[in-house]
């Protein structure tokens, strides 16, 4: 299917393009992943608007997550999410056993350290989609063995909206304290 390969190849070029511009000093080193994630965010917003144009209204958060796992994932990656788990308190884990963007890379532990670059865009995609549907969240990804990967979404309740879009801070309510995260959103666990 030619259209599948198109997105895959474009995505790979995008990642290497961002990193190349970082080497040349245009982007501060370490901000590449944030940049990719923000790209994914904007794309996710637009995509969700298009995909939900004809669907019925969503009942609740779980309905939205199921939509993301089934219809959204199928339209973007031509397959569904293999496993969705939740603790019913705002944390959802989406597991994809054969993530399309990583299948071409390796089938085990090789290149594991580079996987985070290729997951940033997708994390942003999920976050953008959820944000357009009215859910503020933080999405992280982890890979233990390629090409399987897990996306973890933490929904936030009652976080104030920072009016200034220029700031890259994310206020996270953890253990009752407000923490400012300046690290990129991707956590890589080996």
């Amino acid at each position: 299917m030619a259209d599948e390969a198109l997105f895959l190849l474009l995505h790979n070029e995008m990642v290497s393009g961002v990193y190349k511009s970082a080497e040349q000093g245009e982007v501060e080193n370490g901000r590449c992943i944030t940049k990719l994630e923000n790209m994914g965010f904007r794309v996710g917003q637009g995509l969700i608007e298009r995909f939900t144009k004809d669907t019925a209204r969503f009942k609740d958060e779980l309905d939205i997550m199921k939509f993301i796992c089934k219809d959204f994932w199928t339209t973007v990656f031509k397959k569904q999410i293999d496993n969705l788990r939740t603790n019913h308190q705002g944390i959802y884990v989406l597991q994809d056993n054969k993530f399309r963007l990583l299948t071409q890379m390796s089938a085990g532990k090789q290149y594991l350290e580079h996987a985070s670059k290729y997951l940033a865009f997708t994390c942003g995609l999920i976050r953008g989609g959820l944000s357009n549907l009215g859910i503020k969240s933080i999405v992280t990804a982890e890979v233990s063995s390629m090409p399987a990967c897990k996306f973890q979404g933490t929904m936030q309740k009652g976080v104030t909206d920072t009016p200034n879009k220029m700031f890259q801070w994310i206020l996270c309510h953890r253990n009752g304290r407000l923490r400012r995260l300046t690290k990129p959103n991707i956590i890589l666990k080996t």
């Binding site: 969700i48 298009r50 939900t52 144009k53 549907l133």
Partner: protein
């Protein structure tokens, strides 16, 4: 044919509002603002209803002596409100629905426009080639993915889309 249409963001501020220039526009702005309460009521009522009536089109929100107000909410909580002249009895429900569909399609195109920042005012030029929904005064409506209309990024935020937009 609508007398006034408005696109309202999920935080309840207007993204785009256009009415026929011959009338007192403030009156329409006020009507659209008051209809937001009715929209919220309908959405919350729908959430509790067991009936699988999960349509995006809300129908007639409330009638006044001269006008009727219709509403539509997208899945991304963006509301479209349309004010129609009461004397226009030929207008059917289906036509209103199709007008809202066209509005929704145009809005989706705006979202996908790379020069548009979600949350900003929507710019549109009257009588543009991309007008789809008809308004009584032949004003054009929605801006679609024409980068020329949106203008260079520095201008998008500064120029207002029309009279008295802020509430």
């Amino acid at each position: 044919m609508a007398v006034c249409i408005a696109v309202i963001a999920k935080e309840n501020y207007p993204l785009y509002i256009r009415s026929t220039p011959t009338e007192n526009e403030l009156k329409f702005h006020y009507m659209v603002h008051t209809s937001l309460d009715v929209v919220d009521e309908k959405i919350s009522a729908m959430g509790k209803a067991l009936v699988d009536q999960r349509e995006l089109y809300l129908g007639l929100l409330y009638p006044t002596e001269d006008y009727k107000v219709y509403g539509y909410v997208t899945n991304s909580k963006v509301k479209f409100v349309m004010v129609v002249d009461s004397s226009n009895t030929a207008l059917r429900d289906n036509e209103i629905r199709s007008m809202f569909r066209k509005l929704h399609n145009s809005y989706t195109d705006v979202m996908c426009n790379p020069f548009y920042n979600p949350g900003d005012r929507i710019q549109s030029s009257p009588g543009g080639p991309y007008s789809r929904v008809r308004i009584q005064s032949r004003w054009a409506l929605l801006p679609v993915s024409d980068p020329v209309q949106v203008g260079p990024t520095s201008c998008v935020r500064s120029s207002p889309a029309g009279p008295l937009i802020t509430w």
